[in-house]
């Protein structure tokens, strides 16, 4: 069952070939057997998942199912989930159970998707290797001696290992795109404003955006369709209708022009990566697209600019973890400064 795509699983559920409860149990069983070696999950929510699966089965029987009804998936542990711990990969939030759901959590729940649990990540989404989690590193399922990428490494690894057909992630400076590439799955950072960030723990607010992981463009399109949409609770949410992202999947690539920024292929490019990109371009050419070299002359400034914006916003956003309203608090504070300083200092230690 685990080798089927999300679309195939949805068809199987709707045809009554298996129930969501059976599918959910099969996925949970795989997580139990295989995740010890990967560490892609921080929290597995068996009971809640099985309850959600039974509710999805009732919807399926009543003929009220959508494309995600009864489909197991996993959330990056950055999305608030009422009643289930949301740690953000940090000791600071090891004891934090959110008192409300993120909009993305609520939307996928409303679609009938079955959350198996929360996936591992670099602490507070800062990292590109998934080695900085309080809950230990995640391993790449293709070769457990290598990293899965980060910060959404657990979500990427869980999909790559066929523990779940899809998962959610967030991307500030590559945290979906890079682990998707390193784990060989499909990942997408949508346009800023497309998916609500309400209830998604903030890192750098002008860059953070949620997105899906899946095993194909079609599966990712279904996830994106369910996650996207205007939300008045996120002041940066864009009020535009959600398109049918599957609509263009069968379109021909004839006439499509792909610009290849020459600056991306400079010094330090690994020969294996270059060959993989060239092989992909060859596929696109065969499908009728043309590839043109272009120049983005300011490319070298992107990372320096990121290193101004992201740390400044991160410093601001993470100041809320102060031991007063939620999260870790140091014992026996002498005064308020001591409370802040030691809560943050101890919370940071691995």
């Amino acid at each position: 069952m685990h080798s089927k795509s999300l679309v195939e699983l949805a068809a199987g559920l709707q045809a009554g070939e298996f129930s969501s409860e059976e599918l959910t149990r099969a996925c949970l069983d795989r997580v139990g057997r295989l995740d010890g070696a990967l560490n892609s999950f921080i929290t597995v929510a068996d009971e809640q998942a099985l309850a959600a699966a039974r509710a999805a089965d009732a919807r399926l029987q009543q003929g009220e199912a959508g494309p995600l009804t009864g489909i197991p998936f996993a959330h990056k542990d950055i999305f608030c989930t009422q009643g289930i711990r949301t740690s953000c990969g940090s000791r600071m939030l090891d004891n934090f159970t959110a008192p409300y759901d993120a909009t993305v959590t609520a939307k996928l729940q409303a679609a009938g998707a079955v959350m198996l649990g929360k996936t591992n990540m670099d602490e507070f989404a800062m990292g590109s290797s998934n080695e900085t989690s309080f809950y230990g590193p995640v391993k790449n399922p293709w070769n457990t001696d290598t990293v899965p990428g980060g910060s959404s490494g657990g979500s990427a690894a869980a999909v790559a290992a066929r523990l779940v057909p899809a998962s959610t992630g967030t991307d500030t400076g590559g945290s979906i795109r890079q682990p998707a590439a390193l784990c060989g799955v499909t990942g997408l950072k949508p346009t800023y404003g497309r998916i609500s960030r309400y209830g998604m723990i903030a890192f750098a607010s002008s860059l953070d955006q949620a997105g899906p992981f899946a095993r194909s463009a079609e599966d990712a399109a279904i996830m994106l369709g369910a996650m996207a949409g205007f939300d008045e609770r996120d002041s940066t949410s864009v009020d535009r209708p959600v398109e049918d992202y599957r609509a263009g999947l069968g379109d021909s690539l004839k006439g499509l022009r792909i610009g290849l920024p020459k600056e991306y292929f400079g010094e330090g490019l690994d020969a294996g990566v270059a060959a993989a990109v060239e092989a992909a371009l060859e596929e696109f050419r065969k499908l009728g697209a043309t590839v043109t070299e272009i120049s983005l002359p300011n490319t070298h400034l992107a990372v320096p600019a990121y290193y101004v914006v992201a740390p400044a916003e991160c410093s601001s956003n993470l100041s809320r973890f102060d031991g007063v309203r939620f999260g870790y608090r140091a014992g026996n504070p002498q005064d308020l400064t001591d409370l802040y300083t030691r809560s943050r200092g101890v919370g940071r230690l691995l």
């Binding site: 008192p99 008045e232 400034l301 290193y307 007063v324 940071r348």
Partner: protein
Amino acid sequence: MSLEASDVEKIAHLARLGIDADDIPEYTRNLSAILAFVEQLNAVDTAGVEPLAHPLEATQRLRPDTVTEVNDRENFQHVAPQTEAGLYLVPKVIE
């Protein structure tokens, strides 16, 4: 621009962030390297470049100034380390 160990101590104090003295030399080196790295932005001529606030030209949305939320204090405070009578408790601030 290069930082001194005392700068790092001062920044940590201002951020109310407890750090180990042993880590200060490494933080000083790393922060100095990042500052040197971002310095290359100073060389860019941005005269005539219009600031981009949003990729979709979106503007800040406003709403009527009315109450939209109900009081949910108990729910939010049950995750707090220490509360009393609906208030968050911290060490005494004013004598």
